[in-house]
């Protein structure tokens, strides 16, 4: 088993809900301080966005963060060099789009991630039907390739996805792009529950987990949550690493104390 999945299973098996914040790589000179602060605030895995010019599955907040990072000169190589210099003490996973992966070649891309100390990869526009070459490249570098399940995914595809994915199952809570929502839809919990019956992988919920209340609701059914836009909105508005970490700490608290 690869290091990311070993870690996510261990956390889950300890009875702790996983908190996985997403941070756009290369956004500002001290961006890695946000990664360290997130880990400090109780993140179990940190997702690092490698910005792409045309992010098909991202809503306005992550789009803005990606555009700002690219406008400031962010590159995959630069971000990976930054990442290689830090040790947040928890695994990191890269999230990006197919073109950045295939431009370099899946093998070289995965090798570069591993060299930078990254343990997982999420590529939302490579669905399970197209995943074979990337799966092989990731496996060769002991990277976990995390696959997404959507509310639209038919039952037989869910089986295929949880079989082919590793690290954790990324459960998309709603039919939409990334972004904050007032509350999680009811169906999200049901989907997470159904997936947990299919697989022993940790099942995490993402998309629209914007608040402590939403995180708590998600954790009733899932093994943890992924939080992107809610934290990136604060970062874009100028939140310091300590301030963004403070927000994540409230989510940590909500996940640890479900009865409050």
């Amino acid at each position: 088993m690869n290091p990311l999945e070993t870690h996510t299973r261990r956390v889950r098996d300890r009875g702790r809900k996983l908190l996985v914040p997403y941070l756009t790589g290369g956004l500002g000179a001290g961006w890695t301080d946000h990664v360290l602060a997130a880990a400090e605030a109780g993140a179990d895995v940190v997702e690092i966005g490698l910005p792409f010019s045309d992010p098909m599955l991202d809503g306005p907040t992550i789009q803005r963060a990606s555009d700002a990072a690219l406008a400031a000169g962010a590159t995959v190589d630069g971000i990976l060099a930054d990442v290689a210099r830090i040790d947040p003490g928890v695994p990191m996973a890269a999230m990006t789009y197919a073109n950045l992966v295939f431009r370099r070649g899946a093998d070289r891309f995965c090798a570069a991630l591993r060299d930078a100390g990254i343990a997982g990869l999420i590529v939302p526009d490579v669905p399970v039907d197209e995943v074979e070459p990337l799966s092989r490249a990731a496996a060769a570098e002991q990277l976990d390739l995390v696959l997404l399940v959507s509310p639209a995914t038919p039952a037989e595809r869910r089986v295929e996805i949880v079989k082919r994915g590793s690290g954790f199952v990324y459960t998309v809570s709603l039919m939409g792009t990334t972004g904050e929502r007032p509350a999680l839809p009811e169906s999200a919990g049901a989907l997470a529950t159904a997936l947990k019956q299919l697989t022993d992988l940790p099942v995490l919920l993402g998309f629209g987990v914007s608040s402590a209340a939403a995180a708590r609701a998600a954790a009733e059914h899932a093994d943890g949550v992924i939080v992107g836009s809610a934290v990136m909105r604060k970062v874009l508005a100028g939140a310091t690493p300590a301030e963004a970490g403070g927000f994540l700490a409230t989510l940590r608290e909500a996940l640890d104390r479900p009865d409050d």
Binding site: F52, S53, D54, P55, M56, L57, D58, G59, Q63, D67, L70, T75, V76, D77, Y97, A98, N99, L100, V101, F102, R103, R104, P124, D125, V126, P127, V128, D129, E130, L147, L148, V149, S150, P151, A152, T153, P154, R157, I161, V172, M175, G176, T177
Partner: protein, 392 residues
Amino acid sequence: MTAPAVDARRPTDDGRFGAYGGRFVPESLVPACDEVDRAFRAAWADPAFRSRLDEILTGYAGRPTPLTPAHRLSAELGITLLLKREDLMHTGSHKINNVLGQALLAQRMGRTRLIAETGAGQHGVATATAGALLGMATTVFMGQRDIERQALNVFRMRTLGAEVVPVHTGSRTLKDACTEALRHWVTAVADTYYCFGSVLGPHPYPWMVREFQRVIGDEARGQAAAALPAGTPDVVVACVGGGSNAAGTFAGFLDTPARLIGVEAEGGAALSHGTDGVLHGFRSKVLQNHEGQIAEPHSIAPGLDYPGVGPEHAYLADHGRARYVTVNDTEVVAAVHRLARAEGIICALESAHAVAWVLRAVTTGEVAPGATVLLTLSGRGDKDMATLMELT
């Protein structure tokens, strides 16, 4: 000369034209694409669907279009030039061929709403037209910069009852409109059909749009057989942005000895200057930097302002079955004027790329004296008058 054996009649079941095509979309869109694929296969095999589409193409949209001998220009150039007149189609371009097919399919699938991306506005106008004709709500995504450049088409769409949504992200042009339309589709797949405007996007779109556009090539082949002593032209030429009019035209001539030439805009030439990439759900040639960030193309013809190209063209290029060349904006403007004065036809800036190549190829000898050339004139030039006025 015999044509190399290239079988582009249909892609593989997973939508591959050789190494290109496929379906690189978020999981949320995979079932929707599957459903379009199943519905299209059933509809295309259903004589009732085909005859209803034929009826509308004929009785409403203006098919068949003539194959017009360009007598005076031919005499000037010393060749036989035949123009396939898609500029005479309802709404002003070949776009309506595809849109009517997809809109009928959407209706058959029980969808009540159409969405589309548009650059110059031609595909947006065609989609708004089909929406009005079939009583379907229509939303068109259009980059803010294109909205400013193409005010007339924005007003046409709104007159037809469509909602035009400005896109403010990225370069605020066609590629961003396409990305935004895909994002929107994720939220609305239950009742909404995404009507792609070219041979682009996730499988089955590149193949399906080619099939809806092949009426151009099939008609032209029959017309050329009647018009030319040799039966088929020596050269078949069409402009290529995403590549739908070229794909439709080439489909009629793939198994003939005709040389197939696709003409790209110098500033938006994914086949001539691009590299392998994945954009908007498919693998093809893409204009991008060394890390894979998508480049912003620049062409005087907004319909060719796209950083990718249909996967079938990348396949035909690799196999040498079609050749892709570029012309620059100056040659294109000159070609509009030359065709207008010689033949009384003001064509679209996009279509003028094909004309410009013929004008050049006659002087370089790439088109030999006495050769027969069939050129698809994909659209009329009314929309470009403001652009041309600024230049004069």
